[in-house]
Symmetry: C2
Subunit: 224 residues, 2 copies
């Protein structure tokens, strides 16, 4: 495993500046940065045109690269898709967990918790530059079976955040439908907003959150 790595002596990656036109920024290869640019470009295009209709050449161009260059960072187009989805689910879960942390020794009521879940979920889907999760939602079938299974754990974790909240609301009489189906229906209602929500017209994100809460919860239960 730990073989001594020989320092490259022939054509070292450092001294090949003269050839090719100079780059806009300091250097074209600052690693993580370029990889992130590819991910963002891919997420944006996958969302807008779909995975199959997006060309690796499109992605390369959007990240200001040549057609073959994405394959320096990702093994294949599928690997790019998988990376987008994984990053999206990872971010979403982290944001939810952070938002659900109540300050100090206080706690959130189940109703407050659901509002947080809904609010963050909508922002993850509809907030500016958030293309990763929508790609995850609408391009699942483009993923090879093996990779779909690998992602299943992440989505399960994410959905698990909702279960205790919905269960509490159900027991308090504020949510009539069975918890399992309620979760699917509620997430569906929110996920569908990707198809119609327009930040520049119609309802705003807070209005949408209010409407969702009003639609799903009975107010004739305990509080409010």
């Amino acid at each position: 495993m730990n073989t001594v790595r020989a320092t490259p002596e022939i054509a070292p990656p450092i001294a090949k500046r003269p050839r090719g036109r100079p780059r806009k920024t300091v250097d074209a290869r600052d690693d993580g940065n370029r990889r992130q640019a590819l991910l963002a470009a891919a997420a944006h295009l996958f969302r807008r045109k779909g995975f199959a209709a997006t060309t690796t050449r499109d992605i390369a161009a959007a990240a200001d690269m040549q057609s073959g260059s994405p394959f320096y960072h990702f093994k294949s187009k599928d690997a790019l898709l998988y990376a987008v989805m994984e990053e999206g689910m990872h971010r979403a879960k982290e944001r939810q967990q952070a938002a659900l942390q109540a300050p100090e020794g206080s706690t959130f009521t189940p109703r407050e918790q659901l509002r947080i879940l809904v609010q963050v979920h909508l922002d993850v889907l509809l907030g500016p530059g958030n293309d990763f999760v929508p790609v995850m939602l609408y391009e699942a079938r483009s993923l090879a079976l093996r990779q779909r299974k690998q992602l299943a754990q992440l989505t399960t974790d994410y959905e698990a955040l909702w279960i205790p909240v919905l269960t509490a609301l159900h027991e308090a009489g504020q949510l009539r439908a069975p918890v399992k189906l309620a979760r699917l229906l509620i997430l569906g209602a929110l996920n569908w907003s990707v198809q119609w929500f327009d930040a520049k017209k119609g309802a705003s994100l807070p209005e949408l959150t209010d409407a969702a809460m009003a639609l799903f919860l009975k107010s004739c239960g305990t509080d409010q």
Copy 2:
């Protein structure tokens, strides 16, 4: 315009039976039938793999034709997609209108009407062989702008069926959210079922209908 059409005397389309293997059914060209077969095959494949990932060769094979033959019935792959969507929306609207007809001199309550809309909508999406509307829902972006606008009228008509029902429920205090957003959220919840519903396991269609009604409507309003 109205030139006299000469009867074909060379290689008339009738007398070329001997060549090629005999067809399963009476004849390979019974028009509407073959066209329908193509539509059904296309709808099925578009739903399963997506429009861009489906090959016209796939469709031809599924309809038991040769690779070039779909273009005898449809001008292009896009035209096939459009035809699938139009047929789907047309059927859906007709089914809803028929279902909403109350027998004799009786009438349905708004609550009953919503149940019908939900039930039929779910069947249109999830019933066996109903691939047309799901394609419409999930492949809209694959359509050229001009064609998308042509379809807009059909979807508007369909959604219009829901408005008076939701308005009545809203006024009766059984639906808290604003009607416009309520419609979008409810249809989203139902449309999303395409992604997870499995007729062979989990909830059945009637159970799903019940859950949706229980989730969306307040029962502390007037009746029930």
